[in-house]
Structure formats: structure tokens, C-alpha cells
């Protein structure tokens, strides 16, 4: 029995690889397993290679990576194209299509001899039992259900449902193909039992979705009634989901002519009093810069999601990277501050998106959500979320008394002023990108400018108390600290678990509010820390640099940063942690020696 199973499947575009993966993770979610599934494609739009990897487990899955327990190969050429994304190791079980003509003891895998190898006539079985090549994916799930014990019943139910419209004979053909897979597996038992252990008993079925859909759903929950954006990989699914849903809630969606118009319409909708959002990726963010500045000075709430991909410029559109943090914080000219939030998993996207709307409305500001390609597009099981635990914030509207002599940009103690919107009698004012006085009229007074800048920064002070937007794990007094954010935080958490299992004395800080930098949280965290690492997927170690702007870090806290599309492995982080432990012990011994000598 295993507690965890990592499956990789690869083939050509039409092979049904993705659909096989989806059937598996759906069955797993229904049965209460935890899981993450990622997909990967060649650069062709259609007909190129396709692969998916699934990591299923009885415990929460923190990160999709790791060496394969099972590799399903429909076609060796395509499989090999994914290289390091589908790593075969000595413990891997390889299942491959017999018609590839490869002999089981001469697999085209450089220098690795897998634990077990099965040559299966997948296509032939599909044709025999379902009368069509298209059932290859069904044979595959049958095989996997058989060997690894995942979701036999729910997969069968799934097949029946999926093909119901095509008539009884299609349904039955596919059921037969599934059974054939199952039977093949039973006829060729594994040497060692690698079946997944039963899911934790107290947990029922889980939600299953990706970060982009989750983000869109959270926006609906938060009361967003206006979305405008422009398609861009890997964020477009947010708009696509909302296009299917938002109208039902009296909302409106506009596919704009470009990203400037997209955020422009959102600025307009916010001025009109609505909760509004846009979503994009790097190149689109670069175009939204000017409007973000406008929303900051006009103090208009809005949520802007950036599903990060590899940059700079067009860069690597289908790969995740964490290299847009500097931009999120600093792209607009002039002095301004907008909060930046980053979710760490698909489930986390819900709360973070809701929080983004809350901060936007409360502080009358644009808020950036920094998701990334991995979170945005990976399918993940999510424990059911109790939405009643979330409070929704509305912007501070003027009272009747305030409307009698309305002062839109009143220099209040908190820095937050009452905000009206067209249609509200007495609330008429002039919004502008020009510096203004308290009632909103243009000013060229340096003094007023200084006071307004001060107001626009000061109003965010309460964010310094939002410790709930930070996760600290591990031993509070540990002398070694990790910091990580976004999708990579999962890698760091996994590394932390591994280190703890080895008895290492370490801790981890995961900020979900990245900016403004909440100094006290870092100061507290680093108080005990002698050595540490910022684990990030960017060349520049952007969070590390950003934090340094405001916090004096201990000198031996350094970045472990890599350009996108070069996944950081928990093992690598663990190795660094071990080194730090050794270095620290060395130091202590050294000290002790010195003291002894002194």
C-alpha cells in the first residue's frame, strides 16, 4: 500500500491523455483523496504532444512535482519530449503501448531501469472492446484502476454518464474497454503492492477545480458584478468562467479591445459604484500600468489578477514564473502603494480573491492578486469551503449628513474618505488623475500634494496588523528559516515536512500579503533566525529584494531563486537546509571551542 501515487501519462494530441488524467483525478476527488493534476503541451495549438501528471495522496498534496511512480507511455517520442517534467526513476512502473514496437528490456530511457515494465496493447484493446481508437484513454484508466485501486466504481459511473448521450452501444463498448484494462491489470499483478491506501475516513468528497475557475467563482461570491479583460494565456479561463456565470447575477462582462480598455472599463464600473475586476498576465499587466496609477490617485477600488507566466516580454506564455512581483509593486509612475496578495494553492485562491475585493473596497484602492500559471491551470482537490466564514466588505459610502456638504477626499484620521457614485444625490464630485484637494478640485499646491500622498499611504497602516495573511509553520524558535510565496510555497512546505521528519530545527514563513511589506511579521520571524532562504521562482529573487527594502534581514538569509520553468524540488531545498544545519553546528562548535580556549 502507498500513501501517495505520482502518475505521468504522455502521448500525441489526440490520444486522450488529458481526459484519462481528468477521469482519474475526478474519481480520486470523489473518494476523498487529495490530488493535483498538471498538464503540459508542445507548442502546437493542435496535434502536438500532450502530457499530464497526477499526484494523488491520502494526505494533502503540496506540490505537483516529484519522480513518477507510474509512467504511461502511448508513444515514446512524445513521452521523451517532456524530459524532466516526467522523470522516470528506478522505482517507477512503466506501462507502454505495445505497438510502439519497443522491447520491455530495451526501453528508450537513458540509464534508468524501471522497477517494473508492462507492454500493453492499449490501442488493440480499445478497438477490440469499444470498436474505436478513441477508447484508449478508457483502457488506460482501467489499467490504473486495476493496478493502483483508484475509483473503480466512480470511474465506471463516470463512463456511463459521459457516453450516455451517444447511446447504449457506445456506453457498453467503453465499459468493456474499462473492464479489459482492469482485467489486464489483474492478470498481471505488480510485484509489490503499490495500491493507494484508503483516503482518510473523516473526509468526504472534495471539490475539484483549477485556480482560474476558483478565482472567478470567488469573484462571484465576493459580489463582483463587472468584469472586463482581454484574452491572454494563462489567465483567460477566468474571463471564460465569468462569461458563463456573471450575467446570472445581474453582472456584465466585456471582452475589451485591449488590456488598457479592459481595466479602463473596470475603473469606470468602480466609479459607478460596482465591485469590478480584471485579469491578465505579464504583457497585459505592462499595459495596465497607467490605469492602475489612475485608480490609486482617484482612490477607486478594483481587483486586478495577474496569472504570472515566464517573462520578460512575451517570454514563456505557458510556463509559471514569479517574476512579476516588482512590477506589481512598482510599475506605475509617481509615489503610490497598492496591496499585493498571492495565493499558494488552488484552494487558497478562494480566500485570497475574496480578501482582494475586501481590501479594494475598504481601502478604495486597486489590489493586485499574483497567481501563476501553475496555480491557475492545475486541477486540484480542495476541501469543502465554508463560505459563511467569510465576511464581505463594502466601500465606505457617505452618510446623508456627509452628503449635505460632501468632501470626497476628506483628510480623515484613517485616511479613508466617504465615496459616492453617480446616481447618489449630493455626492456629485470630480474624480481625476490630477492631484486634487479634499473636494476633488485640481490643485498645484505642493502642500496639498504632500498631504494627499500622505493620506494615500497612511490609509494602509492597518494592513500592518494583518498577521492572518501570513502563515508561519515549524518551530517558532528555529535558527533556520524559509520564506516562500505563491505556488512555490507548496514546495517549501513539503521541504519543511521532510526536514522536520529528519528532526531538523527549521521554520517557514509564507506571506500571502506581499506588499506593503509588513515589517513586524518579518522581524518577529527572523528574530530567532541565523540562516535562511527565500525560495522563489524568479531570477532576481524578487520577494527577497522587496523585503530587504523595508526589513534588515540577518546577513546569512539568502535567496534560493531560479528562473521560471525550472521547478524547484523539495529535495533541493532540503539539501540546503541540511547544509545550513551543518554550518550552524560548525559555528556553534567553533564558538564553543573559542570559549573553551578563551
Amino acid at each position: 500500500m502507498s500513501q501517495e501515487l505520482i502518475i505521468g501519462i504522455a502521448g500525441a494530441g489526440g490520444d486522450g491523455v488529458i481526459s484519462a488524467g481528468e477521469s482519474l483525478i475526478t474519481a480520486a476527488a470523489l473518494e476523498g483523496y487529495h490530488g493535483i493534476m498538471t498538464k503540459s503541451f508542445g507548442s502546437q495549438i493542435r496535434g502536438g504532444e500532450a502530457s499530464c501528471r497526477l499526484r494523488l495522496a491520502t494526505q494533502p498534496v503540496l506540490n505537483p512535482n516529484g519522480p513518477l511512480d507510474v509512467a504511461v507511455v502511448l508513444n515514446w517520442e512524445d513521452f521523451r519530449r517532456f524530459g524532466g517534467e516526467l522523470p522516470v526513476e528506478p522505482a517507477t512502473i512503466v506501462i507502454y503501448e505495445s505497438n510502439t514496437g519497443v522491447s520491455p528490456d530495451n526501453l528508450p530511457l537513458e540509464g534508468v531501469t524501471p522497477a517494473e515494465v508492462f507492454s500493453v496493447p492499449i490501442t488493440e484493446m480499445a478497438q477490440t472492446h469499444a470498436g474505436t481508437d478513441k477508447a484508449k484513454n478508457i483502457v488506460i484508466i482501467g489499467l490504473l484502476a486495476g493496478w493502483f485501486g483508484i475509483g473503480r466504481a466512480s470511474m465506471l459511473a463516470g463512463i456511463r454518464k459521459k457516453f450516455a448521450k451517444k447511446g447504449a452501444s457506445v456506453v457498453e463498448g467503453n465499459v468493456r474497454a474499462f473492464q479489459a484494462g482492469l482485467e489486464f491489470a489483474e492478470a498481471h499483478p505488480l510485484e509489490a503492492d503499490r495500491k493507494l491506501a484508503a483516503p482518510q475516513a473523516d473526509r468526504g468528497a472534495k471539490l475539484l477545480t483549477d485556480g482560474n475557475d476558483m478565482c472567478a467563482a470567488a469573484a462571484i461570491f465576493a459580489g463582483c458584478t463587472f468584469f472586463s479583460g482581454y484574452p491572454i494565456t494563462p489567465s483567460t479561463e477566468i474571463m471564460q468562467f465569468l462569461d458563463r456565470e456573471i450575467w446570472k447575477y445581474g453582472g456584465t462582462l466585456l471582452q475589451a479591445e485591449d488590456e488598457i480598455a479592459g481595466i479602463g472599463a473596470v475603473v469606470g464600473a468602480s466609479f459607478a459604484g460596482k465591485k469590478a475586476m480584471t485579469a491578465t498576465s505579464g504583457p497585459g499587466m505592462s499595459l495596465k500600468t497607467e490605469m492602475l496609477g489612475l485608480a490609486s490617485i482617484a482612490e477607486l477600488p478594483l481587483v486586478c489578477v495577474n496569472v504570472q507566466r515566464g517573462g520578460p516580454s512575451t517570454g514563456m506564455p505557458t510556463k509559471a514564473e514569479q517574476s512579476d512581483l516588482f512590477q506589481a509593486a512598482f510599475s506605475a509612475h509617481g509615489d503610490c502603494l497598492r496591496p499585493i496578495l498571492a495565493p499558494t494553492s488552488v484552494g487558497d485562491v478562494f480566500g485570497i480573491t475574496v480578501e482582494a475585493f475586501n481590501l479594494a473596497e475598504y481601502y478604495q484602492t486597486p489590489v493586485i492578486v499574483l497567481s501563476d500559471q501553475e496555480i491557475g491551470q492545475r486541477k486540484e482537490t480542495v476541501d469543502p469551503i465554508d463560505t459563511s466564514a467569510f465576511q464581505l466588505v463594502e466601500r465606505r459610502r457617505p452618510t446623508e449628513t456627509e452628503l449635505a456638504k460632501y468632501t470626497r477626499f476628506k483628510l480623515t484620521e484613517s485616511g479613508i474618505s466617504p465615496i459616492s457614485h453617480p446616481g447618489m444625490r449630493g455626492g456629485n464630485y470630480l474624480a481625476a488623475g490630477i492631484e486634487h484637494n479634499e473636494v476633488g478640485r485640481p490643485t498645484a499646491s505642493g502642500e496639498m500634494h504632500a498631504r494627499m500622498n500622505d493620506k494615500r499611504f497612511r490609509k494602509f497602516d492597518p494592513l500592518k496588523n494583518r498577521r492572518d495573511l501570513f502563515v508561519v509553520e515549524g518551530d517558532p524558535d528555529a535558527p533556520i528559516g524559509l520564506v516562500s510565496w505563491g505556488s512555490v510555497a507548496g514546495v517549501a512546505r513539503e521541504a519543511l515536512r521532510l526536514a522536520q521528519a529528519e528532526g531538523l530545527h527549521v521554520k517557514l514563513l509564507v506571506p500571502k500579503l506581499l506588499y506593503p511589506v509588513v515589517e513586524p511579521v518579518y522581524q518577529d520571524f527572523f528574530a530567532s533566525v541565523k540562516r535562511g532562504l527565500f525560495v522563489e521562482q524568479s531570477y532576481q529573487a524578487q520577494l527577497y529584494r522587496l523585503v530587504r527594502m523595508f526589513v534588515d534581514l540577518p546577513p546569512l538569509v539568502k535567496p534560493l531563486a531560479k528562473s521560471g520553468s525550472n521547478p524547484i524540488q523539495p529535495a533541493e531545498v532540503l539539501e540546503r537546509l541540511r547544509e545550513m544545519v551543518v554550518a550552524l553546528q560548525g559555528n556553534r562548535n567553533h564558538h564553543q571551542t573559542e570559549q573553551a580556549a578563551g
Binding site: 467563482a217 463587472f226 446570472k248 466585456l254 488598457i260 479602463g264 456629485n428 470630480l430
Partner: protein, 298 residues
């Protein structure tokens, strides 16, 4: 979030009700003074109270206009008044949304947005103060400046043909296209009023002279000699081809009045939206149950 969108009972407005007490900082004699007057007159005739009006502009001398009215104003950034205005109108279809722009704001930096609001037929009234120059930045070449014109950025003469705002918007499929000038205040107020009443996107090009950087033949006096009322010429505003032929005379002739009014305007985006919202309303699961979408399905 209480909003009062019905016309106030018995409310009857004067142009003065729409003029704010902010003193315009335009140059004495600037054509834009006349434009704000014409707009406030049109608004008085329409009869919607100021707080139900959103008046959006970009940046430029012309774009200062919203601040001189009592409506909700938004003096946005250069060239982006239309996308923002469209967000406002779609977010709250009850509002009367006016947009003011300049030739540079509207047809140079903002030119990429015009076609799209028009093909969506967003119900906005778009007033461009066309003075053939960049006023606010002190006299640079504008997209409507004539070929050969010398300015501080075309010391040896412009090397390019001007934009033709009237022809462009006609080609974009605008259903209401008109031109006016503060030299004919009554006519200008009238086309603005008609534009506002028009159910869909309305474009009004205003020949509003820049007295500081403009050329002699663009001043009010010269305009008075040149202006030809389309009505008096027997122009049929329902005829697209003839509207387009006259539009091609932009820069040589100065027509005023309604150049084109589509007898069968396409549905506005807003109409499509509200129909869709109505049709789909029943399908909504409560917001707090939206996550049920993600329950895995056998």
C-alpha cells in the same frame, strides 16, 4: 447603496443648474467656453438632474469640461475616456453618460477605442472639441492638423494627412453623427441634445477654435463665413452614402447639423446585456453556493 435614478418630480432645470462654480482656466476667447454652455443648455432641455449624469473626459484643454459642470465628473487619463465611460454605462445603464475629448485625446492616443465602443453601440454621447491642435501642451501637431501645417513639432510642415473624424466614425458604423460649432450656439446645443436623446452611441464633432495656437481660418469668425447647415442643404441624414460623401469633405467644407442618423440602429450592448441578465437570472445558484460548481461529478 441608495440611488435615485428617476427624474425628480417636477424638476425643471436651467442651464445654470449644470454650471459649477469652478472658474474655467481656458484662454479668454477659447471655443470651449461655448461648448460648455451648449452642453449645459442641452442638459437643461433633457431634464435629468446632475447627479444622474456622469461626465467623463480624458486630458486636454477640452477635457477640463466636466469640472465646469455640476454632474459627476471624471477627468481621467489622456485618450482613455471612452473605455472608462463605457464601463460606467454598462455598470449602471440608468445613468446619462457624456464623454468629452479633444482631437488629440480622441483620435490620436485614444483613436484605438473609438471603433469598439461604436461597434458595441454603447449608449454614450461623445463630444470631441476639434481644434486641429494640441492646446494644453502648447501647440503641437494634432491628428486633425492639415498636411503641411507648421507647429512646434512640425517646424518644416506636417508630412501626413489629417484624420477624418466624421468619415472614421461612419465607417465604424456609428448610428448618430453630427457636427457643430460654438459659432452657432443654438445649433450646437440642439445637436448635443439630439445626440443625448439618441438611443445608442452618438458622435458630435465640434469645431471649437483654439485662440492661442489655432490658425486664423479656424477661428469663430472664419467659421461663421464657412459654416453650412446640412438641413438647409437638404441633406438626408438617413442616407449613409451621401453622409459618407460629405464626410469626405471634412477639412474643406464645414457642415453643421446631423450628418447621419441610422433609421435602424443596431441593438445596443446594454440592451443585449439586460436581456441576457433577465434570461439567465433563474439559473443563478446563490452566490455562496457557487463553489458547488466544483463538486466532482461522476
Amino acid at each position: 447603496m441608495m440611488t435615485t435614478l428617476e427624474p425628480l418630480p417636477q424638476a425643471r432645470f436651467q442651464a445654470g443648474d449644470f454650471k459649477s462654480d469652478l472658474k474655467p482656466i481656458w484662454c479668454p476667447g477659447c471655443g470651449d467656453f461655448g461648448v460648455v454652455t451648449a452642453i449645459t443648455r442641452a442638459l437643461a432641455a433633457i431634464g435629468r438632474p446632475p447627479h444622474e449624469i456622469a461626465f467623463i473626459s480624458g486630458i486636454g484643454c477640452s477635457s477640463r469640461i466636466p469640472g465646469y459642470t455640476t454632474a459627476y465628473g471624471f477627468n481621467t487619463v489622456h485618450g482613455r475616456s471612452l473605455p472608462i465611460a463605457q464601463g460606467i454605462k454598462l455598470a449602471n445603464p440608468e445613468l446619462l453618460v457624456l464623454v468629452a475629448s479633444g482631437d488629440g485625446d480622441g483620435f490620436s492616443i485614444g483613436g484605438g477605442h473609438v471603433a469598439h465602443v461604436i461597434r458595441r453601440n454603447i449608449d454614450l454621447t461623445y463630444i470631441v472639441m476639434d481644434n486641429q491642435i494640441y492646446g494644453l501642451t502648447k501647440g503641437q501637431l494634432s491628428p486633425t492638423s492639415q498636411r503641411g501645417r507648421k507647429t512646434v513639432t512640425s517646424s518644416f510642415g506636417s508630412l501626413e494627412d489629417p484624420v477624418n473624424p466624421l468619415l472614421y466614425v461612419l465607417s465604424y458604423g456609428a448610428s448618430f453623427v453630427a457636427q457643430g460649432s460654438p459659432a452657432d450656439m443654438a445649433g450646437l446645443a440642439k445637436v448635443i441634445e439630439e445626440g443625448i436623446r439618441f438611443p445608442g452611441f452618438a458622435f458630435i464633432n465640434v469645431q471649437s477654435p483654439c485662440v492661442t495656437y489655432g490658425e486664423e481660418d479656424q477661428q469663430l469668425k472664419a467659421q461663421k463665413g464657412k459654416m453650412q447647415s446640412l438641413e438647409s442643404l437638404g441633406h438626408d441624414p438617413a442616407d449613409w452614402a451621401s453622409a459618407s460623401a460629405r464626410a469626405r469633405e471634412y477639412g474643406t467644407k464645414l457642415y453643421t447639423g446631423v450628418l447621419y442618423r441610422n433609421p435602424n440602429p443596431p441593438r445596443t450592448y446594454g440592451e443585449g446585456v439586460s436581456e441576457r441578465q433577465q434570461a439567465l437570472k433563474k439559473q443563478a445558484v446563490p452566490r455562496h453556493e457557487i463553489l458547488n460548481r466544483f463538486m466532482p461529478n461522476t
